[in-house]
């Protein structure tokens, strides 16, 4: 009996493993587990010298990085003589793989590298080597601990938080109580967003009071419970800001359940199917959308500029966020940003 069950369980495990492999296999076919390039030959009309750029991201097959890649390729096409090769490890945790990939890029004579670092310390050495080999390196999204790169393109979360505060102030008429549901306590991104939001309110909107901050651990149900309690505790509450997509979804749910869609303004952050649905139904009044397209396109532009002898004006470049609201969401430009 026992033997039968152990065999049964073993089979089950093996089956589960096969299913697992199959699932990653499907999406992983075009991924470069070993750094196999999925290159896009640029439309190099008439120009002999093709600029080869390696786009090395934290992983390859997530929608976010695919967006970055598409934007970079579009920019390459626009410039004409640029060829983009998209590389990356299978998962964000494969730091060693990413180091290897960057080192291979140096040997393969790429003209420039656009890099989103999996680890801020481990990638310092490869970047230094690239720089010593005379290859310009543009960091995007996630930087490294030493500023040896040519430029760093990322969302400035402090600035993005401030943008959310501005939208919130506008929605509630510059006056009243607001609450914050942040997604984590002590994570740098979360801290930056919260700081930006509170500083903006403190400095420019003396009539707005931030009544409290709760941390929901990116659990929308917890966010909903916390938002409900805020609404109960502060009957006059005017708005709640959810600092990432899960927080915002939870807040929107609570506001809907309490029937306060019109009296409590919800501002979110990031972009997902549920956020879009919330914008459409009006439970979420606005959200800050990050700009992976800007990172991709501007990264390519900067490499070309540097190769052309033009140094970037500033090392740290904020790619910014775009505030998409219920009002502007149907604009063509906003639709493009929402669906990027």
């Amino acid at each position: 009996m026992k033997k039968f069950f152990s065999i049964f369980l073993t089979c089950l495990l093996v089956a589960a493993m096969l299913v697992g492999c199959g699932a990653t296999g499907n999406t992983g076919n075009n991924s470069s587990n070993n750094g196999t390039p999925s290159s896009t030959p640029a439309n190099n009309s008439g120009n002999d010298k093709v600029i080869k750029i390696a786009l090395v991201t934290k992983m390859v097959d997530s929608p976010y990085w695919q967006t970055v890649k598409k934007a970079a390729e579009a920019k390459a096409k626009e410039l004409g003589n640029v060829e983009i090769t998209h590389l990356g490890p299978p998962t964000e945790a494969d730091i060693d793989k990413q180091v290897q990939i960057v080192e291979t890029c140096i040997n393969d004579d790429y003209d420039g590298i656009i890099l989103a670092a999996c680890d801020k310390d481990a990638l310092v050495e490869p970047v230094r080597k690239a720089k010593e080999a005379g290859i310009p390196v543009i960091m995007i999204d996630s930087g490294i601990s030493e500023p040896i790169y040519d430029a760093f393109l990322a969302t400035n979360n402090v600035q993005a938080g401030a943008e959310c505060a501005k939208l919130m102030a506008e929605l509630i008429g510059g006056k009243g109580q607001v609450a914050i549901i942040n997604f984590a306590a002590g994570t740098q991104t979360a801290v930056d967003r919260e700081t930006g939001f509170t500083q903006e309110i403190k400095n420019n909107y003396p009539d707005i009071e931030i009544v409290g901050v709760q941390y929901c651990n990116s659990d929308p149900t917890v966010a909903a419970n916390q938002a409900t309690d805020f609404i109960s505790a502060y009957p006059g509450l005017k708005g709640i800001w959810g600092a990432n997509d899960q927080s915002a979804i939870g807040v929107a749910q609570a506001v809907t359940e309490q029937g306060k869609t019109e009296s409590v303004m919800v501002v979110g952050f990031d972009n997902s199917d549920d956020i879009k649905a919330g914008l459409k139904s009006g439970t979420i009044k606005g959200t800050a959308v990050q700009m992976p397209t800007t990172m991709g396109a501007q990264g390519v532009q900067l490499v070309v500029d540097i190769l052309g002898g033009k140094a970037p004006a500033s090392k740290d470049v904020d790619t910014g966020v775009t505030m998409v609201t219920t009002e502007n969401m149907n604009d063509e430009k906003m639709q493009a940003i929402l669906n990027q």
């Binding site: 152990s6 659990d219 909903a224």
Partner: protein, 347 residues
Amino acid sequence: MMSSKVETAKNGLFKNRSEFLQKFLAFGVLIFLCIFFGVLTGGNFLQIDNLLTIALQVTPYAILGFGLTFVLITGGTDLSAGSVLGFGGIVCAKAITLGFSIPVAILIGILTGVLAGLINGLFITKLNVTPFIATLGTQYAFRGLTQLVGQGKPVSIRALGDEQITKVFQFMGGGTVFGKIPFPTIIMLITATILGIVLSKTGYGRRLFAVGSNEEAARLSGINVVKTKLTAYIICGATSAMAGILLAARLASAQSNAGSGYELEGIAAAVIGGTSVIGGEGGILGTVIGAFVMGVLRNGLNLLKVDAFVQMVIIGTIIVLGVWYDTSRRKKQAESIKPVKNCESSK
């Protein structure tokens, strides 16, 4: 012996009172907290709307706690309950997006939980892996499966664009009936009633307590220990999945990280309600009360505008103090009662 008789009578009274206390201690704490918060918030806390909000908030933890109560009574534990919650929820949501009707999708979701519980149970009963390790492992495995189903993203019902389905599904997770009573809370109370009857009135319930109290004695009394334990883990899987479906329904979207850490909330609710972590003791009513104690604490502290970090300290301390009080009282009781010897037999 006159004196001894008098003492026995006193002893009997003491025993009754302590039995009474044991059953109603958690309830007393709950009432105390309600009055405490009611006074401090100037009555805000006790408003019917707020109480119903709490009922909605505690529902998933309570349902999760029911299954965990069964498992804890066997002397085991299920650390994978939170992952099974996410797994059941996301499978149900995925089934809806694949075009299954809502009832069928719910059934599929619950069956997922049953299967997960069965796997846990087989590891524990057939392969003799200790529950802590077995379910620690499956905690990762089921979470991984959840992520695979969702491809790391939430499965949104709302994004389907079918108003009708979204509305029906959301009603299950957050709708109200008979005025303002949340629908999931009703589901929770029905589940509590059923499982409470199973525990206290059926032969299975008796076997479960016997196995948890002394596994070898139960086995030598002809009780099928494997079947009894396996059933407990299956019930736990089913209730976990149920909680997951309700969570997904409330948001009309199943999160792939839903329920992480919830198993500890469920265990806390059960333990506050008097279920013993070493097995043999416990009850569903206690778990309902325990879940409400946790929910009331959170809600009350929120209404009192206590800082989020201070809240964590307070809640953690209260859990430890509560359980410490309970165990020390039980220990005292066991020590102070000498073998009954000089009393008359009952009839």
